[in-house]
Symmetry: C2
Subunit: 217 residues, 2 copies
């Protein structure tokens, strides 16, 4: 692709989801992006590097990268903690597991087939939820003092709103806020970080291109 | 490389470890193997596919693939179980996590920075150990009836042997055998499966090449 070859372009993303009606092969398209310009971090090569801990040699997907930045901002150290991730998607759960693991947390991944979610959540020092189910995680499940990061964006009916609906996360905020040491709201928590991390990845990409071009002189 | 392009060759592996004295870049060499012939499953692309659950479109590293086959042979279903993996290496821990997860277990990855290993092990319905520390996992940690898969190969001093040493796993077999429902010995457990899986991956590769060549006619 010409954009892959254009040296003045440092980042290239595929706006997902692709039209599912025409059965576009999403994997084929996302992997057509040069790994050097894959600032969304969604190509197989970048996912493989991340899964093996090569954090400085890949692009980290923006949402989990933003979650890590939020966790860092709490001042809570990740190493030696128990991290629990709910969800195993390519853009949230799977890379979030990798990031927590390679920042030296012990990590448990939960998903729709996990039979004892409340118990698993109760063991989390750091909880990241990307399940796509409105207010699924209840406050009483949360460990006292835990860091709770909510990646959910769900629309639920609300007759008090002009639109007839409102946005909630995957965590029941009001009750979880009673127990968590730190918690992100929805909206306004993880969402804005995702955009910021896309910019950061793009700047990082430009720096890498510049360094490579200098070393080739 | 000519071997990558030779259509009569369906599998190509790099014998690891590479000579560390000459600082050979192992990543560079393993990723030079065509993903289509990477029957060790060690390239970034295959690792990325596995980490995202594309199990039928990748080569699965041989040791964890053999572990999964051993687990299947017990008749214990993986879905909904709690799997615990000790170790996060490229050839055992990381891909084992992916395999258990995408066979729908809830999975916890432990490692050298895990502070409460006995408690984590005690929650495992399925325990896979690839830590490289002789007899580190004690029988009293193991959940009653658990499936215990030991990938460790450690040489310990033994004056009763002519060689002055013997091979043990990462699990203290005698005590763990008292509690486990199923347990693999060392030597003779996982080891022979690894070789078998390398053969299976190579046959699978040949089949894929054949199917592709037929579909191109």
């Amino acid at each position: 692709m010409s954009v892959n070859e254009n040296l003045s372009v440092h980042g290239l993303i595929v706006q997902l989801p692709l039209d599912s009606i025409n059965r576009i092969d999403t994997e084929l398209i996302t992997n057509a992006v040069s790994p050097d310009k894959d600032v969304d971090g969604l190509s197989c090569i970048n996912a493989g590097k991340l899964s093996r801990g090569d954090l400085n040699d890949c692009f980290i997907p923006c949402t989990p990268n933003g979650c890590m930045e939020l966790i860092r901002q709490t001042g809570v150290s990740v190493a030696g903690k128990h991290g629990v991730v709910i969800g195993r998607s390519k853009i949230v759960g799977a890379p979030m597991h990798d990031l927590l693991l390679w920042n030296h947390a012990t990590v448990t991944t939960c998903h729709s087939k996990t039979p004892d979610l409340p118990e698993q959540v109760g063991r989390a020092d750091i909880l990241v939820v990307g399940a796509g189910r409105a207010e699924m995680v209840r406050g009483e499940w949360v460990k006292e003092g835990a860091v709770v990061i909510d990646c959910g964006i769900n629309h639920v009916p609300d007759e008090t709103k002009a639109s007839g609906k409102r946005v909630v996360g995957d965590v029941h905020y009001a009750s979880a806020n009673q127990r968590a040491g730190f918690i992100t709201p929805v909206p306004g928590g993880v969402g804005p970080m995702t955009v910021a991390m896309l910019m950061e990845n793009t700047v990082q990409s430009a720096q890498r291109f510049l360094l490579r071009s200098q070393s080739h002189r």
